[in-house]
Structure formats: structure tokens, C-alpha cells
């Protein structure tokens, strides 16, 4: 298991490296000149050239990549063009804000999605199943800004129940912060519910139809015990991986939701960096998302291995 994990982490690092290449060179095809972008159209060519030199963007690409990647490894994420100061602190505070929003979404969605999926599976083919499945499917594919607008119009504008921006302001008490986060969380919950419920449903149906479920039932166990002890343990394993991969979608959704609700998280940070051609900020932000995703999937793998004896223990005969 240890060797598997090391291999897994090794592959993760390899993936991150490829990702850094993609991100870096995607940043390079951005049109325009960083010095010009920062100083504006009126600046003299000499000033632009000087700034370019200062930023290091006039060096060969390989050199730039090398100094960027070694900088990253030393915790130096570069200087933001936009703010003329280190990227790190901006990223850190944005990450914390996004984490609040994302974690709240996960806390709501994991039990809800699993319960929905299991319930649908137990009533497979009946109206309850169709309702849950179709709701999940529809909710999952409506863009976050669309459901966001609907909830804003309904709860914020018409009913005036909740604030339409997400940021409660610094130092606001916990409950106020939570209240401000309710509306932005809804679109995220919508999108994720469908995936998690779908996976939980599929896994549960497979387990219900399995031979071991038959064995358990014919032992004379009650249906509740069969489901709790024999079904769920096997059926929810694949769901763990899905939840981990969904963290990626969650972050994608954050870009939109944070823009819509004007919330200072990593999504809006990336959006702003991209529109103002702030490469160091953009690259660091995107790579951070890659790291978060990688960590989430590795945690999911560890969980899956720990909970699945077939993976935990080799075949001994």
C-alpha cells in the first residue's frame, strides 16, 4: 500500500509538472506585452522595455520557465503585474475565502447527494427515482450563473429574504457570514447534487442486484441490516472518488459564482488576472487549483484503499 501511495503521489507530481507546462505556455500565447499592459498605451517604449527587463519577460522562454518553476518550489510565486506586489498573499486570502464557500457547499452536498442517490436506488424505476434522477440531471447541467440568477431574482429581489452579494465584510460574525453565503452556495449545490446522486444510485443498484445481497437477504437479515451492513459499504466506495473529482468542477463553478456574487475568492482572482493579463497571478492561481484537485484525489484514493479490503490486502492463498 505504501508503495502504491508513493507511486500515486509520484504520478500526481508528474501530472502537476505537465500542468505547469500547459499553464506556462498558455500564458505565453496571451497576446500583448506585459510591460505595455501594465504601463498602458501612453508609456514610452523605453519604459516598457525596462519594465519587461525588470519582470524578466524578455529572457528566453526556457529560462523564464526555469526561474518560474524554481521560484514556485521555493514558495515564491512571483510578482503580480497588476498589483506590483507578491502573488502569495493575494492567493492565500482568496483561497481561504473560496475554501469557506466550497466547504460549505460540500458539507451540504455530500449527505444530500448520497441520500438522494441511495433513495433513488431503493425505489429504482418508480416515480421517486425518476423525480430524483431527473432533478439531479437537470440541476447538474444548468450553468451556475443561470441558477444563481434565478435564486437572486426569487430570494434576493422578489422575496428580499437574503443578501444578493456574498461578502459579509471583514470581521462579520459567523452567522452573518453564513447567511451571506447561502445564495452563492445554492448554484454549487445544484451542480454537484446530480453527479454525486447519480454515482451513489448506480453503485447502490449494482450492490442491490449482487449475489452477496441475495446471500444476505436469504440469511434472514432485515432489509435495514442488509442495506446498512452489506449494501452501503460496497456501493458508496466509488462515490468517494466522484466527490474528489467534483472538487475540480466545484472550483470551476467558483469562477462564475464568485463573479456573479462579487465574492473575493480564487475564482474571481483568476478571472481578474486573466482579463488584466496578469500572468504570474494567473499561473499561480491555476496551478493552485491543480494542487488542490490533486490532493483531493489522493485523499480519495487513500480513503478508497482503506475502505476496500480488496485493494488493502493482496491476494494470499
Amino acid at each position: 500500500m505504501v508503495s502504491y501511495l508513493l507511486r500515486r503521489i509520484g504520478l500526481g507530481i508528474l501530472t502537476l509538472w505537465i500542468l505547469s507546462l500547459i499553464v506556462f505556455f498558455a500564458g505565453q500565447i496571451l497576446p500583448g506585452d506585459p510591460g505595455r499592459a501594465i504601463l498602458g498605451n501612453l508609456a514610452s517604449p523605453r519604459a516598457v522595455a525596462a519594465l519587461d527587463h525588470q519582470l524578466g519577460v524578455d529572457r528566453p522562454l526556457i529560462t523564464q520557465y526555469w526561474s518560474w518553476i524554481t521560484g514556485l518550489l521555493h514558495g515564491n510565486m512571483g510578482i503580480s503585474y497588476q498589483f506590483r506586489s507578491a502573488v502569495g498573499p493575494f492567493l492565500a486570502s482568496a483561497l481561504i475565502n473560496s475554501a469557506k464557500l466550497g466547504l460549505l457547499a460540500l458539507i451540504i452536498i455530500i449527505p444530500l447527494g448520497i441520500a438522494g442517490g441511495v433513495l433513488a436506488a431503493l425505489y429504482v424505476g418508480r416515480p421517486l427515482d425518476r423525480v430524483i434522477s431527473l432533478t439531479g440531471l437537470s440541476a447538474a447541467t444548468v450553468p451556475e450563473f443561470v441558477s444563481g440568477i434565478v435564486v437572486i431574482v426569487v430570494f434576493g429581489v422578489q422575496l428580499k429574504l437574503l443578501p444578493v452579494t456574498a461578502n459579509a465584510g471583514p470581521g462579520a460574525p459567523f452567522w452573518t457570514q453564513l447567511k451571506f453565503l447561502i445564495l452563492p452556495v445554492i448554484p454549487l449545490v445544484f451542480v454537484l447534487f446530480g453527479y454525486i446522486a447519480r454515482m451513489a444510485r448506480a453503485g447502490t443498484i449494482e450492490a442491490l442486484e449482487s449475489d452477496y445481497a441475495r446471500t444476505a437477504t436469504l440469511k434472514g437479515l432485515t432489509r435495514g441490516v442488509v442495506i446498512r451492513r452489506h449494501i452501503l459499504r460496497n456501493s458508496l466506495l466509488p462515490t468517494i472518488t466522484v466527490i474528489a473529482t467534483q472538487t475540480g468542477y466545484l472550483i470551476g463553478g467558483l469562477v462564475v459564482v464568485e463573479t456573479l456574487f462579487n465574492y473575493p475568492g480564487i475564482g474571481r482572482l483568476i478571472y481578474n488576472a486573466a482579463t488584466s493579463k496578469d500572468f504570474p497571478m494567473l499561473e499561480a492561481g491555476v496551478l493552485t487549483i491543480g494542487v488542490v484537485y490533486m490532493v483531493a484525489t489522493i485523499i480519495a484514493d487513500i480513503l478508497t484503499i482503506t475502505l476496500n479490503p480488496r485493494l488493502r490486502t493482496g491476494v494470499i492463498r
Binding site: 449475489d211 452477496y212 441475495r214 440469511k219 451492513r229 480488496r310
Partner: protein, 686 residues
């Protein structure tokens, strides 16, 4: 109507009857239509009696088990008749009573033991659960579970308790399930194809175990199997199911000796028995096909396939006629059923057969194959030397994991052998892989796989499937292609109308014929038959074997015939090769290998096979499980399980060579041939 008619008055729980099923109808709703899977099935199982239900796939035998435990799928329901288990009616029970019945009265053992156990719960816990349902505390349940595992002859129950199912071999998992089933001390034990997924040697052990425990525990048994010989060995009485109807019933031995229903007669003739070989003539077959499930029929359900059919058979379904003490047959013509005319002529024109002095078609010398495993190297084949003559059938036998399929794949070039060995076709070396072989060489070596569903591209039509080798290997086109196609289709006894169909529209037997036609399309010299009939029903199997024999006679092709069914191997093979852990243990003429003296491993394989012919030879048992091919035992690889191991220690230290013990008969054993002959004649250990 008849003496079995009990529908009007359900019997009071009477002594001596554990299960009574009367006039049971079960239907499945498929797309709004009710399809009868069982119709008017009546039988009783006495206290401590072992009752066998035998039938081919689609006969409804598993549906009986599901109905008894009320575990029919959502679309299935009992649409008529009654069921009583110990006088109780499971169909009328509420949920709690049904749980009680399942917990205390009825237990079940399943076909695929590996899948019947929960993969994420330790084996011991799963057995203990049965005791907990009965009210035992957790600790008590665990200790009783361990005792139960010991009772099913698991030598180290403490260790098995802690294992997860994937860490158990098939035989071990089935013992755990049997322990689980017997833990509740049920009055009825249902075994649904309990040994079908197991090797013959393991099957023999499991069957012995069940037979032993049954007498010890006072349990009635319902034994469901497609294997007539297993039923004959295990059951007092037998019911023969055909297309959802119980067509014949009675004492097991008598039914198999003197069947009185044309279906039973035909079924028994499909199986090569008493050492029957292809030179004794063709096997008989049952013409036609099983009717599609739920087809309503006015007359006898077997009438369309019966050569004794009369007008009355088509007008009204026959009632069960008494045909002897405790015997019935649903046939108007039960009196003449034993003289059922053959539906396949017995005469088989065999080719000249292998010429012993001729050069072999294929020669393997020192062929090995190892695969990288998780932490070690698995030696699937070790130094195989083998020849195949023109027109000869070489039977290849051995337990699963012995390397049979690897040998076939290496020969075909689907996996490259380890360097060092040679494979020659007509004296010229064959490339290690398909892509390094010439078209002529590809043409010469073809295969018929076990499962036609897997071997035929399900998106291609029959025409496309059969035509492709004619174009690609035989290089035909135009009229020549059309003529050869028609010829080939006729030679596998198919019709033109089949050509437009997709594989899923064909029955299993027809699919296998398409696969055979594909293999013969290029005009092969050698065809590997890898368990070509094990996915098929008995009645279909005979027709496929006849076809293979006919084609061999016509085309003078050589077969490498791989099968776990020694009866089939004996029927078709000229020579036999026995594999164990990737090594050839014995190679020789079929009759010599079967009649002995034979290698102790061959002896063990042969004595593990249940026979319909009674007179089972003195059983020698294989102890322990097949060792891992990654770390084969020292010396003779078979010594860890060998019942005839010499006490000189030579078996443990030195691997014997594959030596010729008589002309054309080689064996890998330290025991001198005359000593082996004496041992096997008397059945004694050394």
C-alpha cells in the same frame, strides 16, 4: 387428474414431507407480457431426502429455487399453485415470517461462491451473522462460526475467519458458504449449481462434503444442476425439467438407467458414456431448439423436437403418467420412449487418422512462458515439448491455472513465448507473434474459443463474420468467394437465412457454428478448440462435437482440444496431454492414458469425475490446493498433493524427466511403471 393432484386441498404438515410444490406456475413480466417460466410443476421432497432438479439453461430450474425462497426478481411472480415448506407457505408470509423462514428453515448455496460473499466483510463475520440472527451474542456467534468452519473441513478455520472473500480460492469460498448455509441447521438446503464454477478435483471434495454433512445434520436437499452425473451421484430422486415443465420424475438411478421420457432419453444419449469414442460413431442429438420462454403451447411442450410425436401429443398436454413405483413421465408414449429413434445417424466416416511415422505438423520444443506478476514471475509454461500429427486430435487436460489456455495462445502467436523454445510448422520455425507470421502460417493455425458471445464481433452480421477469413486468409473474391461461402455455411449445417442475422439473434449452438466456420474459412491445418462446448447445453454440445469430428474427417485438420470435461476429451482425442503447473505430466494415446497405468495426477483427475455409469473407480483424493505457479514446489511439482508420493524423498528433491514408459506414452514420475501399474490395480498407496 392424477395421483399428484393436491391443489384442491393443501396438505397438512405431514411427517415425511419437507417440501411440497404443487401445480406451481411462475411468470415473468417482460414488456407488459406475462411469460411463463414454470408451468404446473409439482414435486415433493421427503424428510432427509435429496432431490435433484436437472435441466438445461432456460428450463426454469433456478426459478424453482427463487420461488421457494420467495426471491423472484421484481418482474417475476408466482401466478398459480402452492408451495409448502415444513407445512408453511412462504408465498403467504408477511415480511417477518419470511425472514424467520429464511433464517431458520431454508438455506441456499450458490453457483459462484466468490460473488455470493460480501467482498468487504471478513469470512468469519459473514458466517457469524447467521448465529446473530438466531440470537447469539457477537462473541458466541464468532466462536460457533469457527467451529462450523472446522466442520466443513477447513483445516485452519481461525485463519479463514480473518480472510476477505477475494483471498479465498473458489473451493474454500464454497466451503464458507456451505458453513453459512448449514449454520442455521435448516430443514431444507438448496444447492443451485454449487460446483459448476469449480474444478473437477475441487468439485469432488465439495460434493463429498455435502453428502457427508447431509446425513449428519438431518437436512433435506434440493440439488439443482445441469450436470446429470452430479445429480446421479448426489440425489435419491430426480426431476427432469424441460422448458418450465417437469417432464419426468423418479428414483435417480432408475431414471438415468431407464429413462421413460423422450427428452430424458435424448439428453442421456448426448453424453459420451462408458468410454465412448468417436470411432464408435456419432453422438445422438436432440433436433430443434428449446421453445422461447413463455411460448404458449396447446400440446406437449417437447412435441416439436420429438421423433415419437403423434397427433394426440399436439392436441393436449400429456398428464404425468405413472411409469413405475414413484415414477412419472409426462409422455403419452412413455412405453416406447426408450426406443426413441436416433435423430443423428451413428455412422461417422473417419479420415485415415494420424499416420504415426509421418512428420508432425507442429512441433514445440522447450516452449516456456512467464508473466511478470505483482512481486514475482509467474511461470505459466515450463519447457513444453509436444508434437501434433496431421489429422490428429490431441486432448489437453488439467485444472484451471495449469497453463492450458496459455499453451494455446502461445501456439497461436497471441502471446510471445519466452525466448529459447521453438515452435515449428511443417519443420519451419514460426514467429513468436501473429504479426511476425506469414499469411500462410496464419491460415494454418486457427482457434474456436470457449464463448462465442465473446469471440464473435456482435456488431457484424454472420455473413461478414464468415466471409472475412475467406477474403483475408484464403484470398477469395467473386464467384469463388460465393461458392466457398455457401459450401462453408452448409458444412457447419447452417442455412442461408442465418447470414443476415447478428450473433445475438442466434442460439448458443448456432453462434458456435459461426465461430467454427470462421476458424475453417482459411483452410487451417491446426485448429485449437479451447473448451468449445463448455458454454453450451448438453444437447447442443453433442451436435458441435459431431460437427468437429465430421470436419476433421473431411479436412484432415489437427485439433488441439482443450477441455475440463474428461468424457468429451476421451470421446474426441487420439492422444492426451496432461498439464500441471505449466508442465506436461503425461502424454500418450488416449486409451492408454485413460485406462492406465497413468500418472498419479491423471489418476486423481479421472477419479474426481462423477460418472453416470456407476462403478466409480476407487477414489484417490487430492489434498490441498493447487500451488502458485509463481513459486512451484521443489522436485516433482506435484509432490505436495500426490497421493502416491514415494517415501524415499526423491519426489521432494528431484524433478523427474518426462520419460517414455511405453511406446508413445510419456510420463513425468519417479515411480517405475510396473510399480505404478500394481498400485493402481489394487488401489493401494505405496
Amino acid at each position: 387428474m392424477t395421483e399428484t393432484d393436491t391443489a384442491t386441498a393443501p396438505p397438512a404438515p405431514q411427517a415425511g414431507v419437507a417440501v411440497s410444490v404443487s401445480h406451481l406456475d411462475v411468470s415473468y413480466t417482460v414488456r407488459g407480457h406475462d411469460r411463463l417460466a414454470l408451468r404446473d410443476v409439482s414435486f415433493e421432497i421427503g424428510q432427509n431426502e435429496s432431490y435433484g432438479l436437472v435441466g438445461e439453461s432456460g428450463s426454469g430450474k433456478s426459478t424453482v429455487a427463487l420461488a421457494l425462497t420467495r426471491y423472484l426478481p421484481r418482474n417475476g411472480r408466482v401466478s398459480g399453485g402452492t408451495v409448502r415448506i415444513n407445512g408453511q407457505d412462504p408465498l403467504a408470509m408477511n415480511a417477518a415470517a419470511l425472514r424467520g423462514l429464511r433464517a431458520r428453515t431454508v438455506s441456499m448455496v450458490y453457483q459462484e461462491p466468490g460473488r455470493a460473499l460480501n467482498p468487504s466483510i471478513r469470512a468469519g463475520r459473514q458466517v457469524a451473522e447467521v448465529y446473530e440472527v438466531a440470537g447469539a451474542s457477537r462473541d458466541e456467534a464468532m466462536s460457533r462460526a469457527e467451529a462450523m468452519l472446522a466442520k466443513v473441513q477447513i483445516s485452519d478455520p481461525g485463519r479463514v475467519m480473518d480472510r476477505y472473500p477475494h483471498q479465498l480460492s473458489g473451493g474454500m469460498a464454497q466451503r464458507v458458504i456451505i458453513a453459512m448455509a448449514l449454520a442455521a441447521e435448516p430443514s431444507l438446503l438448496i444447492l443451485d449449481e454449487p460446483t459448476t464454477a469449480l474444478d473437477a478435483t475441487v468439485e469432488a471434495e465439495v460434493l463429498d462434503l455435502v453428502a457427508g454433512l447431509r446425513t449428519e445434520l438431518d437436512t433435506s436437499v434440493l440439488f439443482i444442476s445441469h450436470n446429470l452425473a452430479v445429480i446421479a451421484k448426489m440425489c435419491d430422486r430426480v426431476g427432469v425439467l424441460y422448458a418450465g415443465e417437469l417432464v419426468e420424475e423418479g428414483d435417480a438411478q432408475r431414471v438415468f438407467e431407464q429413462p421413460r421420457h423422450p427428452y430424458t432419453v435424448g439428453l442421456l444419449r448426448c453424453i459420451p458414456r462408458q468410454g465412448q469414442r468417436k470411432d464408435h460413431g456419432r453422438l445422438d442429438t436432440i433436433p430443434g431448439f428449446l421453445p422461447p420462454p413463455g411460448q404458449s403451447m396447446t400440446g406437449c411442450i417437447f412435441a416439436p423436437r420429438c421423433s415419437l410425436v403423434e397427433d394426440q401429443c399436439r392436441q393436449a398436454a400429456p398428464p404425468p403418467f405413472p411409469t413405475g413405483p414413484g415414477r412419472t413421465a409426462r409422455c403419452y408414449r412413455h412405453d416406447v420412449a426408450p426406443e426413441l429413434p436416433r435423430s443423428t445417424p451413428a455412422d461417422l466416416q473417419l479420415g485415415p487418422g494420424p499416420a504415426p511415422e509421418a512428420d508432425p505438423v507442429i512441433t514445440l520444443r522447450g516452449v516456456s512462458k512467464s508473466f511478470p506478476g505483482r512481486d514475482e514471475i509467474v511461470h505459466a509454461l515450463a519447457g513444453i515439448d509436444l508434437d501434433l500429427q496431421r489429422g490428429e486430435t490431441l486432448g489437453l487436460v488439467g485444472e484451471s491455472g495449469s497453463g492450458k489456455t496459455t499453451l494455446a495462445r502461445v501456439l497461436l502467436g497471441l502471446v510471445p513465448p519466452d525466448s529459447g523454445g521453438t515452435i515449428e510448422l511443417d519443420g519451419s520455425p514460426l514467429g513468436p507473434e501473429v504479426k511476425s507470421r506469414s499469411r500462410e502460417q496464419l491460415k494454418s493455425l486457427q482457434i474456436v474459443f470457449q464463448n462465442p458471445d465473446s469471440a464473435l464481433n456482435r456488431r457484424h452480421s454472420v455473413r461478414r463474420l464468415i466471409t472475412r477469413p475467406l477474403v483475408k486468409l484464403a484470398g477469395l473474391s467473386g464467384t469463388a468467394l460465393r461458392d466457398r461461402l455457401a459450401d462453408l455455411v452448409a458444412s457447419v449445417r447452417m442455412e442461408d437465412r442465418h447470414l443476415v442475422l447478428k450473433p445475438r439473434q442466434l442460439s448458443g449452438g448456432l453462434k458456435q457454428r459461426v465461430a467454427i466456420a470462421r476458424a475453417f474459412g482459411g483452410g487451417p491445418r491446426i485448429v485449437v478448440c479451447d473448451e468449445p462446448t463448455s458454454a453450451l447445453d448438453v444437447s447442443v454440445q453433442a451436435a458441435i462435437l459431431n460437427l468437429l469430428a465430421d470436419l476433421q474427417a473431411k479436412e484432415q485438420v489437427s485439433y488441439l482440444f482443450i477441455s475440463h470435461d474428461l468424457g468429451l476429451v476421451r470421446y474426441l482425442s487420439d492422444r492426451i496431454a496432461v498439464l500441471y503447473l505449466g508442465r506436461l505430466m503425461e502424454v500418450g494415446p488416449a486409451e492408454r492414458v485413460f485406462s492406465g497405468p497413468h500418472h498419479p495426477y491423471t489418476e486423481a483427475l479421472l477419479s474426481a469425475v462423477p460418472s453416470l455409469d456407476g462403478a466409480v473407480p476407487e477414489r484417490i483424493r487430492l489434498s490441498g490446493e493447487i500451488p502458485s505457479a509463481a513459486s512451484p514446489p521443489s522436485g516433482c511439482v506435484f509432490h505436495t498433493r500426490c497421493p502416491r508420493r514415494l517415501d524415499t524423498g526423491i519426489c521432494e528433491s528431484t524433478e523427474p524427466p518426462l520419460a517414455e514408459v511405453e511406446p508413445g506414452h510419456q510420463m513425468r514420475c519417479h515411480i517405475p511403471i510396473d510399480q505404478l501399474t500394481r498400485m493402481q490395480a489394487t488401489g493401494s498407496a505405496p
